[in-house]
Symmetry: C2
Subunit: 115 residues, 2 copies
Amino acid sequence: MASRTATRLVHPPREELEFTRVMAALSDPVRLAIVARLADAGSDGELACSTFALPVSKSTQSGHFKALREAGVIQQRDEGTRRLNRLRTDDLDARFPGLLDLAVPQGRDVVAGWA
Amino acid sequence: MASRTATRLVHPPREELEFTRVMAALSDPVRLAIVARLADAGSDGELACSTFALPVSKSTQSGHFKALREAGVIQQRDEGTRRLNRLRTDDLDARFPGLLDLAVPQGRDVVAGWA
């Protein structure tokens, strides 16, 4: 998929993370669920978009991943036809200590509510 | 002002505060500035809406106070023609510990940027 691998994925550097954008990114239950899944991903902490069983359309899902990436909450990279996601734990903990500790349990509650 | 004192001010109880709504309420610089001003209000911690010198129109300001109240971030009460505001520190610290500690300094930065 040349079009996908050619996509330029923009990530704000740690020092440019904006509190208001991160808060907005974490103000949605689906995005909180994504954050919790990534926080609990273990080993390398990387998950392909296709592995998230989210109760929303594919395009809505893509929008949520994009919002998280542009706010600096997740790191995305393309590998072949897969888009891989990782939580920017170190960056978020450095800039807004304690925020992920609040958000991750909230996301787990969202996921539990879907089960 | 009978019409104002007759207004029913709705406040969600502590146990019904929603993380996503609180995050959304705190995702705006003007609302963060209001939160910081209230956090630094001292003594009884109560400030009239009219005392906030916010760089937005009166109606926009009212909308921000309403968003904060409906999310459960502030408590409002009318006294004569004044609407008084107080930060719901205890409720927020109980439900989302550490969140105000992150938000208040961000709000102070916003206020400092206006000076």
